[in-house]
């Protein structure tokens, strides 16, 4: 190996992708962390003051009974479990002897979607003061629709990351 080859080898080693990949993200994280530490308190104070005032104005007119909220969340949970059981039955009827694909992801998607939509429906119901049966239907329907929506969204997100994967029911 002559001097020219040695110099090229050293230069190539210095410019390896590995070293760039190792240093660049860490450097970026350090820079962003430094910026966040410097500016976060100011941003939090600037955002918190008007948001606290808005939140106080929002909940001022509400008289939310805790038990009613708890029962509504229970209904949301049941609606989410119903949507989850529909999905599980589809998987099990397609392949009874196979383990369920991505069970934690779909449990979290269904329950998260149903709770979020149920809470939103409860707030709308309290604000609009619907009839008891309309309110009940709104909470159940919104929770079920929320669970199905997040399920479809989660499935699409998972499929976009793994092109070879198939949809549910066809393991």
């Amino acid at each position: 190996m002559n001097w020219t080859n040695l110099r090229r080898a050293i230069a190539a080693r210095c410019r390896t992708a590995t070293s760039q990949q190792l240093t660049a993200p860490y450097l970026r994280i350090v820079i962003w962390a430094g910026l966040a530490i410097l500016w976060a308190p100011l941003v939090v104070i600037l955002l918190a003051v008007p948001m606290a005032a808005r939140a106080a104005a929002l909940v001022e007119g509400f008289q939310v009974p805790g038990l009613l909220l708890a029962v509504s969340m229970f209904l949301s949970t049941l609606a989410g479990i119903t949507a989850l059981l529909i999905r599980v039955e589809r998987e099990l009827s397609a392949a009874p002897d196979q383990p369920l694909p991505r069970p934690m992801l779909f449990c979290a998607a269904h329950m998260g979607g149903s709770w979020l939509a149920g809470l939103l429906a409860f707030i709308i119901n309290q604000a609009q003061q619907f009839n008891v049966w309309y309110g009940l239907g709104l909470v159940i329907g919104a929770s079920f629709a929320g669970a199905k929506f997040v399920e479809m969204w989660a499935e699409r997100a998972v499929l976009s990351r793994s092109p070879g994967a198939t949809t549910g029911g066809t393991p």
Binding site: P65, V71, S72, I81, E89, W133, V139
Partner: protein, 133 residues
Amino acid sequence: MRPRYWMYRLYVALSAGLSMLVVWIEPASLGNQIISKSGPIGWPCVAVLGVVSCVAVVDAVLNDMFGLAVRWKRALRWRHWVFMALAMGLASVSYVCVMAVGYTPLVLPFLLDATFATLVAITGLFHLYRSEQ
């Protein structure tokens, strides 16, 4: 699990059915008064819930207690949805009671039965498909 499981299912179905029967036939009960004041949809919902709990009781009696002598296959196939409907109905009755009265311990037995009906539905679904192998 199977030999003791039917008692659990029968108890949940009977408890829900008797609760609805008390609401239906006893005018002095708080449930009856709440449903009467809740509007025209209340009584049909109670009736549907009573019918669903009757289906669950008959399913448990025919398909579990009588063993292989008598079978109601459609109820066996749809058992988990029957119990899920039971749970949803009981939770709905709880919601109506809380809306009408506010804080009341009246809803606790309904919520407990709804919880156990949900567990019956979940275990029933897995039992249905896993036991077919």
